[in-house]
């Protein structure tokens, strides 16, 4: 698929989503900017708590609203700023233009509705078809996600299906109205390893068959390597590095990225010691001063403790780290 540069679909600019809790303000997403172009698969990588899911929810404007709030930012989609749309306008974007696949197929499907009802809903809402027409569509969509015996599965309830099938159903719901952008939040995490591989295959095939760009959110670098074109690395609510997938793997610039890679690879290479990144994800209510990563960073300098680094361009990467001064 030929990607035309500048066919920019989505542009997130300086997004800040905070949560107001009784413990204090949690800056879950603190100044994130990213872009998706037509036909791309963009990965957002980070540990849990890095803010990647909240970024996705912010794009969909599904952040639970007390206690969360999008305090700043613009999200441009096909020319208009999503954050300034009314709820009514937003409703016609969700599921139709931008849709989302969630992580845990067990809890994200309504237990008392049949599969075909849950998929047909999306179709009747956005495409104005009758229920019967929609039900026929449902079979087609189920075939697209490679579900065997689609007519039987359509009449089933979620608890009668296996985990892998349920995940396919979630994907079916998301692609049923041909969205321009599909956001997949940890689509394989809750599944067995063998099923993970199957779902990954499905995602790759869908990428080829559909004209849909994807945002793939994951902590698993293996998946990133297999599917993504470009990668954003997030840490504690900020983007710390961004490059295309080959460069991220060959030449990770940010210490966090290289740490992630080393811990992933050390398993692959059967090294004697398992490499782990020291320390924990920072407390987002009382974050460390300066660079949020510095307490865990082997290369931390004086300035890292004092000032938060800004994203700079270094060659083909964008990175936020004091190791790389702007040239």
């Amino acid at each position: 698929m030929v990607t035309t540069t500048n066919a920019q679909l989505l542009s997130v600019q300086d997004l800040k989503t905070y949560f107001y809790t009784s413990y204090g303000i949690v800056k879950a997403v603190d100044g994130v900017s990213l872009e998706i172009n037509k036909g791309e698969v963009v990965g957002i990588v980070g540990e849990s708590g890095s803010g990647k899911s909240i970024t996705a929810l912010s794009i969909m404007r599904l952040v639970p609203s007390p206690p969360g709030k999008i305090v700043q930012g613009k999200i441009f989609y096909k020319g208009s700023d999503i954050l300034s749309l009314s709820e009514k306008e937003m409703v016609s974007i969700r599921g139709k233009e931008i849709s989302m696949v969630f992580q845990d197929p067990l809890t994200f499907l309504n237990p008392v509705l049949k599969v075909e009802d849950q998929i047909a809903e999306a179709i009747t809402t956005h495409q104005g078809k009758t229920k019967n027409e929609a039900k026929k569509e449902v079979i087609e969509v189920l075939k697209m996600v490679r579900i065997p015996s689609p007519s039987e599965v359509a009449k089933s309830y979620p608890h009668q299906l296996s985990g892998g099938m349920r995940q396919r159903v979630l994907i079916a719901i998301a692609i049923s109205c041909n969205p321009s952008i599909l956001i997949a939040d940890e689509p394989t995490t809750a599944l067995d390893v063998t099923i993970q591989a199957q779902i990954l295959e499905l995602i790759k095939e869908l990428r080829k068959e559909l004209d849909t760009s994807m945002i793939l959110i994951t902590h698993d670098l293996g998946i990133v390597a297999e599917v993504c074109d470009r990668v954003y690395v997030m840490y504690a609510g900020k983007i710390v590095e961004h490059a295309d997938v080959y460069r991220i793997f060959e030449d990770p610039l940010h210490p966090y990225t290289s740490g992630l890679l080393r811990s992933a690879l050390s398993i692959d290479q059967f090294s004697k010691e398992l490499y782990t990144l020291e320390g924990n994800v920072p407390n987002l209510v009382n974050p460390p001063s300066g660079c949020l990563f510095h307490p865990r960073c082997a290369y931390a300098k004086e300035i890292c403790r004092e000032k938060s680094p800004v994203l700079q361009i270094k060659g083909e990467h964008t990175v936020a780290c004091w190791l790389y001064k702007e040239t």
Partner: protein
């Protein structure tokens, strides 16, 4: 286990419970000071021949366990003894049951429908003024004695405003038929069913509200929103549908309380139902009727629980298809 075996199992479970109820009834009849026959035909029966006949019918001169068997058999055939008025207990009760059922079902519908609506509104606007008003109102209603509320309703609507009648199921001194009759009964039904149903309303409101709030936090509601469904579609098709399930069991299990409330409400409104029969029997010491009603009520509650549990199993696909 699938639906059929669940239903069978519940039916079987109900049998020992009914057995125990019969046993308890029997125990009460025999533990009251005095001759147990008075529990079956009333005190002060002077016709000796009659007394002897009833004695034989209930086998009162036989050993206790045989008596129990005879008692059970009689009950199962519909023989619950004879009222002091001479009417068989079962007939006296059967006459009145439809009126009480009418009152109870109307009250129940009123309470459930408006309670659920209030609960949904409350949960949609959590912590707002409307929510607080509704919640506080619910607690207040829940704390009111049913009969006092009934009296206050009578004071306001029947006496002060004269909009509605205060007594009985039908207007006296008039013989109405057809549609006029139905309307007349309906007019008389309004105040008592409100008095009876208001407690249910409060309960349903509270339960719906907390159930909705719980379901709203579930992940599949996020999926529903992510599909681009309108707010109403999310609330009614997804949230309420799931929130309602636990409520079904509660509604059914409220049968016992509704019956108690009916007794008190019928007393205030002189409604010709089973509750009124009971209060009359209590003041006249008509023991056969009292025990008969107790039995009927207990069995009704067991049946109501049974039906409710089966209905729930039918509605929740997780139980239906396993």
């Amino acid at each position: 286990m699938n639906l059929r075996s669940y239903v069978a199992k519940r039916f079987l479970q109900a049998i020992p419970t009914i057995f125990v109820i019969l046993a308890l009834n029997f125990a009460i009849i025999h533990s009251v000071p005095g001759d147990p026959i008075i529990m079956l035909i009333g005190e002060f029966q002077t016709d000796e021949a009659y007394v002897q006949m009833m004695r034989a019918r209930f086998g009162l001169d036989k050993p206790l366990h045989e008596q129990f068997l005879i008692y059970m058999l009689n009950v199962l055939q519909g023989d619950l003894g004879v009222s002091v008025s001479g009417k068989p207990v079962i007939l006296a009760i059967a006459e009145r049951i439809p009126n009480t059922l009418l009152l109870m079902l109307t009250g129940m519908c009123f309470g459930v429908v408006f309670g659920i609506l209030a609960g949904v509104v409350s949960s949609k606007k959590v912590h707002s003024i409307i929510d607080n008003v509704i919640t506080v109102g619910g607690i207040m209603v829940y704390s009111m004695p049913t009969f006092w509320l009934a009296q206050m309703l009578v004071l306001l609507f029947a006496i002060n405003l004269r909009w509605l009648p205060s007594v009985g199921m039908t207007s006296l001194r008039v013989e109405l038929t057809g549609i006029d009759y139905i309307l007349d009964v309906a007019k008389h039904l309004i105040l008592p069913s409100i008095a009876l149903g208001v407690g249910q309303l409060a309960l349903m409101m509270r339960l719906t509200r907390s159930s909705m709030l719980r379901v709203m936090r579930e992940d599949y509601i996020t999926t529903a929103k992510a599909k681009g469904l309108s707010e109403n579609a999310v609330i009614y098709k997804h949230t309420l549908r799931n929130a309602m399930l636990p409520l079904v069991t509660v509604i059914g299990h409220q049968a016992g309380f509704m019956l108690s409330g009916a007794v008190l409400t019928e007393a205030v409104f002189s409604w010709p139902g089973m509750g009124r029969l009971l209060t009359q029997a209590l003041s006249m010491r008509d023991y056969p009727v009292i025990m008969g009603i107790l039995l009927v009520v207990s069995v009704t509650v067991v049946l109501a629980n049974l039906i409710t549990d089966i209905l729930y199993a039918f509605l929740d696909p997780r139980v239906k298809y396993q």
